[in-house]
């Protein structure tokens, strides 16, 4: 807890680094092998579809520097557009999944009421909503709503699961100390659910990034990284398409990584080491 902040990322943890030496070596070996194979294939195939890694790296940096005239923005603008879309969809999903999940977990009649609806809509892939959301919600909110759906259901499931898995002895203990239903909810059930919410957030973030490309297939206001991928493909600049894919991967790894870190810290605190 009182760690040097840099140790958070395991960067300055020598013991752990040595312990994970083998893993690290294999990890690096895998990446090197992959890049070598990729490079070999790109030379062998000599196709625009399989640009060499150095072309993609070049495209990656170029996409940040150069404004794409048709889109009126560079990669930063696309990232900002995607993040904004993602952030709004995510915050909305959180704002709705939390109360609904808590209520569904806590109140049996609410569960009976909402459960059929949730079970009905959960299996529908968020991507399936893309065309109709465009018409119902327009070119700004349509894609946002796709993200919203992608994040909403995994989050909801985790919140409900969290509430339902509260240890009975904790509830008993609180009741013997005079807790009524409301304080029980405030002081026991909600705090207990927090790590589950965090797990839901981590899963939701992962799914959200998968949805963003689909969400931006249509009417993406201000561009977006997913939109950029489609655009680059449509004009046949495949190295830029791969660069866009790399950007999505980095955004995904970054946000999921932070979320995972917070989740682990919370789990430790909750005694679930």
């Amino acid at each position: 807890m009182k760690d040097n902040p840099l140790r958070i990322f395991g960067l300055f943890n020598r013991e752990r680094f040595l312990a994970n030496m083998n893993q690290t070596i294999f990890g690096i070996a895998a990446i090197v092998t992959f890049i070598a194979a990729w490079w070999g294939f790109s030379i062998y195939l000599n196709l625009a579809y399989v640009p060499s890694p150095d072309r993609v790296v070049w495209a990656f940096f170029t996409s940040f520097e150069k404004t794409e005239i048709s889109l009126g923005t560079n990669m930063w603008g696309n990232i900002l557009a995607s993040l904004q879309r993602f952030g709004i969809g995510f915050v909305f999903a959180l704002a709705l999944a939390l109360p609904v999940g808590l209520i569904m977990g806590f109140i049996k009649t609410a569960d009976s009421f909402f459960k059929p609806l949730v079970e009905l809509f959960r299996p529908i892939p968020p991507v399936a909503w893309v065309p109709i959301f465009l018409l119902i919600f327009g070119i700004f909110w349509g894609p946002v709503m796709v993200i919203f759906l992608g994040v909403f259901f995994p989050l909801l499931s985790n919140v409900i699961f969290g509430v339902k898995s509260v240890d009975q002895p904790l509830i008993d203990a609180a009741r013997t100390m005079g807790a009524n239903r409301i304080t029980l909810f405030k002081k026991v059930i909600f705090p207990y659910t927090i790590p589950f919410i965090m797990t839901g957030i981590t899963i939701g973030l992962g799914i959200g990034w998968m949805c963003i490309v689909a969400a931006e297939m249509i009417g993406a206001v201000g561009g977006g990284v997913g939109f950029y991928i489609f655009y680059s493909e449509s004009i046949g600049r495949y190295e830029f398409m791969y660069a866009g894919m790399a950007v999505i991967a980095i955004l995904g790894i970054g946000t999921v990584g932070v979320s995972h870190y917070v989740e682990n810290k919370l789990n430790r605190r909750m005694g679930v080491k």
Binding site: L47, L80, L83, I235, G236
Partner: protein, 364 residues
């Protein structure tokens, strides 16, 4: 104890703040001297619904989707493409040159025969439209309705806006050069596939030899070979292929078979870029597609194609949601386009610039 809670809270607040700042930043800047029209990407098949829903205020698409929106009053014409670019080329037939095809005189014969059959079908369409009635006309409209999934009256209007012709005239080549130049200006291409200028490139990408062979080609009693032919989904620009494939018109076989070629097609492609990908994947030998994606991917993806016949010219329109019927009424509003690689997008861009408007992606 609250150190971690604080960190978690800071992270949450940071995310919310970033989202909020993003919302503010992404609002289109209000103050620029130039008059702005915004675009967004919506497939033509969805454009009418988007106009109805108020998602966009205008659209630029191809027939029959223009007529579909116009006929019931959802949209009003801002401008037809022929008013901006008279006789501008649109869809073409392209051939991919690979190790497998067409690498011998026999294969070249097959290409010429497909071009010939397309030409015969085109002439039949033009004559039938000019006649304006009769059994041929009725069956033409029916074929169009069936192929595009749009009602007959809409097909009828749409056919009035498409020019069906095949010759790759100097004017057509000049238009190819012009489109290539526009792509270069947009930064979508950074080279001309080794050619010194857009005119040289347009000449190189165009091969008129098959059209030149066509007048001498006669129907063949035997099948000489087969060709995989790609085309776009529901696009009435490529009506000649539909007519040529209709066996009831040509004595129990397709027009291609009449000229000695068995034509097979994979599932229709969604756009010209996908047709080009079909070439690269080896799924098709020849294909119907718009000339802009052919130019773009010829250069960027180095797909070795040549344009061997024109299919149609004109047949696109910029429309506004009724009562919008001029470009000035679209100022500050959003126009749907099929995407920045399409001829419709270029049309909108060109027409905006011509009238002193800047075309911008909504939100940038």
């Amino acid at each position: 104890m609250n150190k971690k809670t604080t960190i978690a809270a800071i992270i949450v607040v940071a995310i919310v703040v970033i989202a909020a700042v993003a919302v503010v930043l992404m609002q289109p800047a209000a103050s620029t001297n130039k008059k702005i029209i915004y675009w967004t990407q919506i497939a033509p098949v969805q454009q009418k619904a988007a106009l109805l829903a108020g998602t966009v205020d205008g659209a630029v698409g191809w027939e029959p989707y223009c007529s579909d929106a116009l006929n019931d009053g959802t949209g009003s014409v801002v401008v037809w493409s022929d008013q901006v670019w008279p006789e501008h080329p649109c869809c073409v037939i392209a051939v991919r040159y690979s190790d497998a095809f067409p690498n011998n005189p026999a294969d070249n014969q097959l290409v010429a025969r497909v071009v010939k059959a397309n030409m015969v079908a085109t002439n039949w369409i033009v004559q039938t439209i000019n006649a304006g009635s009769g059994t041929n006309y009725t069956s033409l409209i029916q074929m169009g309705a069936q192929f595009s999934g749009i009602q007959a009256s809409v097909v009828q209007s749409a056919l009035g806006h498409i020019e069906y012709s095949n010759q790759l005239t100097p004017a057509v080549k000049a238009a190819f050069a012009n489109f290539t130049g526009m792509f270069a200006d947009l930064g979508q291409i950074s080279n001309l596939a080794g050619y010194p200028n857009t005119t040289a490139f347009a000449n190189a990408i165009t091969n008129t030899s098959y059209l030149a062979m066509a007048p001498d080609i006669q129907p063949s009693a035997t099948i000489l070979g087969s060709v995989h032919l790609g085309y776009l989904n529901g696009d009435l620009h490529q009506f000649a292929r539909v007519v040529a494939m209709n066996t009831s018109l040509w004595g129990g076989k397709t027009l291609f078979q009449d000229y000695g070629v068995n034509v097979t097609s994979p599932a229709p492609y969604a756009n010209g870029g996908a047709v080009m990908d079909g070439f690269a994947a080896g799924s098709i030998d020849m294909g119907y597609l718009g000339c802009p994606p052919a130019i773009l991917k010829r250069i960027n993806a180095n797909i070795q194609i040549q344009i061997v016949s024109l299919v149609n010219s004109e047949g696109s329109a910029i429309i506004g949601k009724t009562p919008i019927n001029s470009l000035s009424q679209l100022e500050g509003k959003i126009v749907a386009t099929p995407g920045p690689a399409s001829i419709q997008h270029l049309l909108l861009l060109y027409y905006c610039n011509l009238n002193g408007y800047q075309l911008k992606l909504k939100g940038t």
